[in-house]
């Protein structure tokens, strides 16, 4: 490989928004396109880098959604799913009680994101196809 110009180094850095597997497949041809399209030979065109970030993150998210969880993750999820639901319900209960007694205290607002986070995590780690656990 030839010595990398500052432009090429910069483009390669931005390509790290894409996962390694995608870069292994497309990095070299994308570098060719980016360098060819650079406006003054030194800087990529405005918006070009933001476009890389946007599409790179999208590929990462898609890979994350598609990947198969490991056996450890499945076992962990099986145990943690009812616990997360339990914590969320418990938080609902005490927040209801506290709001009842201390109406208007702003810190109580923090409980709502906490409940939402637990419910969301419980949903994400729910055991696949095993309805009896819930």
């Amino acid at each position: 490989m030839t010595d990398q110009s500052p432009l090429e180094r910069r483009c390669r850095r931005w390509l790290h928004f894409y996962p390694a597997s995608y870069r292994a497949e497309h990095e070299e041809e994308m570098i060719t396109v980016l360098i060819h399209g650079a406006s003054d030979g030194n800087r990529p065109k405005t918006g070009e880098l933001a476009d890389l970030a946007r599409h790179g993150l999208r590929v990462r998210l898609r890979q994350l959604a598609d990947r198969v969880p490991s056996r450890w993750e499945r076992d962990h999820a099986k145990v943690m799913f009812p616990i997360r639901i339990g914590i969320a319900l418990w938080l609902c209960l005490i927040s209801g009680l506290l709001i009842g007694y201390h109406r208007g205290e702003l810190w109580l607002v923090l409980l709502l994101p906490a409940i939402a986070a637990h419910v969301y995590i419980a949903y994400r780690i729910r055991p696949p196809g095993d309805r009896r656990v819930a």
Binding site: M30, I31, T32, V33, G37, E48, D51, R54
Partner: protein, 105 residues
């Protein structure tokens, strides 16, 4: 079909092209209106390849830089033809209705 997909298929219908060639051709086809960025181009190429409408063909190295050529498949030609017909039919109706005195035809 996305306009970007339509334009890329149109570019490849004229012959195999590499990434930057596609960008230049799409710019020309759209008379300068659409200038694809690299991220958008490769997202569209992946989508079209997944749908079996194009496929990566050969590679060559020019001045130390890799170029991968893409070509349109038989399915790609068929889809592009259907899409072009659909757009032509829509455009025909739109232009007819824009003529004075023919609003309801």
């Amino acid at each position: 079909m996305h306009e970007v997909s339509f334009l890329i298929l149109t570019a490849l219908a004229g012959g195999d092209q590499h990434g930057y060639g596609i960008i230049s051709d799409v710019e020309q086809i759209s008379t300068g209106r659409v200038r694809l960025k690299a991220g958008t181009l490769y997202a569209a190429l992946d989508r079209l390849a997944d749908e079996g409408l194009i496929h990566p063909d050969r590679e060559e190295v020019v001045e130390g830089r890799l170029r991968r050529y893409y070509s349109i498949t038989g399915d790609g030609r068929e889809r592009l033809g259907q899409e072009a017909e659909r757009l032509r039919a829509n455009a025909r109706v739109a232009l007819r209705r824009l003529r004075p005195g023919e609003a309801m035809s």
